[in-house]
Symmetry: C3
Subunit: 255 residues, 3 copies
């Protein structure tokens, strides 16, 4: 396993390219997700209508699908967006929030797995559920450790031909053969809503970078963990953490 | 009337149990609500699909219904969630935002009143409207005082067999017989969106605690008022208030 | 062209009147929009159901229509709200996010242009698209300068009988005859989601003020630019900017 160090040139490239990231994400994390992407120099846009989302997926540089507040209507719009992204050769990233615990999202995630996601990013329970291993997840929080999910993640990566990210105290990034581990971060990150969802958006942004995708995705994990640790050291609690985290991201990848 | 003091053991229990609170709330306050619950050690999850919401309501420890941005589709999902929560013996809390002023939510709130809410939390105009007393409410802001709504609150509590909370400069918590008053807070809390809605979520979390529910609900009111006063004393305005408020909640109930 | 200075009496009047602003806006900016309006003393309310929105539009003092996350369902609710606002002689403001780039919102904006908006606020690409001039917009970010859009803005103002605001490094406010320019602000404002959308909400609030509407709208632009510059000077990045910006607005228009 290769330890990952945040790759400054990758972050500089992100700022230079400013990829347009089409975020179809849950209701709870939209503002935070947009501000995280903006702080890193990417350009977020949320387009959700079943007619417009496919149009926009073909225009944007990358697509994020997060099923946190999935509905039947949104599932239909997401499916259209994925199909158009794939047809236009644009990478899409899946965040399978609480998959395995609830029926609509479980069916939906299983269906779209065949549509060639570039990356799948989840916690241990979500990755195990997608890999077909039973899990004790009871909602959005993992009840398994990232370590224990690594074999399942490798299997899922090989099955789906995607890079799989399992996040936890250590993040693991694997394509089924190679695996990077990304330590760091801070427990305070789990007491603020949306840090995982925002990571998935940053991962989506990094799928647009040239070079080795596994390394680019590990860079996304590394920058979030580094900014999280820095922000936690400057914060009196999860309230002040949010601003400090965005400010820390703002400083990443600058000359 | 019994003056209420924030009950530290109740807050410690909240952190220990970390109840899973299913929040079906309005579009405007989702992030803030989630972060308030996380700061107090509870575990928020927003699940909104008409198929998934009932499933999840039976899994979660408590349910919050907030009608601030109600639609017909959401009303249907909420009704299913309430029915499954009740069947699974999980308490649900109603925040009847702007009831009385608009037709869909007024009809909906009157219908679900019969489904045994554990707690109803509203401002004076909302509680008076639910109690069948005419009110001059013109939207989300109260045009009546909490004092003046207390008789109506007691009537509503007896009719619905729920604990009723009327919030204002002083919060009143009543089961129709006993009434607690909770003074404190700061006017700045009314210049930040979502403090009332987030209180309802904290109330929902506190319905999962053992012991006297009236006291537990008053504790929820007390902790929010105390954190609000502390945050206001440290803030230059409503912008810095938000972070200071979450940080103050973060410190509550710690040994 | 008349340079604009923030008009303190107008802001004081905003605090005194506390207009109720019905915001039908996109999913990403709801919290920020509400907190911006609250900081300036206005009263925001988001009501979105196709049944309730028309009811509420007639009750509220002003209506904001922002098509950032438009869906067919929301378009229907918005059209009903606009018709009831117009019938009740309440001004409505249009924020045509990404118009020209996507089909549903382009059709919708062209349709509602005939329903007498009081103000249209967009970036250069959006205003040019609405004016029927081809634009290179690829989403939410302008690819044209405000300067270059000014002739189109004047044409659009005359065609629609609305005041048109083109925002950029300098904001221009025109009724087709008179034009105000509003310099100031800070580039950091473009790295936080929702500053443009929130300006449209403040513009909507200012349409309720007595006096010259062109001047009142220019005041809205001026106060946002001034608060943005002040907040940027106090911030370590876009994270701390948000709180500083709301706090700066909180100080505006106080005696």
């Amino acid at each position: 396993m290769q330890p990952d160090l945040p790759d400054i040139p990758a972050l500089q490239r992100l700022r230079t390219r400013s990829p347009l990231v089409h975020c179809m994400t849950n209701d709870v994390v939209q503002t935070f997700t947009a501000n995280v992407l903006l702080a890193l120099g990417a350009s977020p846009a949320m387009v959700i209508d079943a007619g417009e989302a496919p149009e926009f997926a073909a225009i944007a540089d990358a697509l994020l699908i997060n099923v946190g507040t999935l509905t039947e209507t949104r599932a239909q719009a997401m499916r259209g967006a994925i199909e158009h992204a794939v047809a236009a050769n644009k990478p899409w990233t899946l965040d399978p929030v609480a998959v395995g615990a609830l029926s609509l999202r479980t069916r939906f995630c299983q269906q779209i797995l065949s549509l060639q996601p570039a990356v799948i990013r989840g916690n241990a329970s979500e990755i195990l559920a997608l890999a077909g291993v039973n899990s004790g997840g009871r909602g959005v929080d993992a009840t398994d450790t990232a370590d224990s999910a690594l074999p399942g993640a490798r299997t899922l990566a090989r099955q789906s031909c995607a890079i799989v990210v399992v996040t936890g105290e250590v993040d693991y990034v694997t394509d089924g053969e190679r695996t990077c581990s990304v330590p760091g971060g801070d427990p305070l990150m789990t007491r603020v809503v949306g840090t995982g969802c925002a990571l998935s958006a940053v991962v989506a942004a990094c799928t647009t970078l040239p070079g080795d995708r596994l390394e680019n995705v590990a860079t996304a994990c590394g920058v979030m963990k580094r900014a999280g640790a820095e922000a936690a050291s400057q914060s009196a609690g999860p309230g002040s953490f949010v601003a400090a985290f965005i400010d820390a991201l703002w400083r990443e990848g600058r000359a």
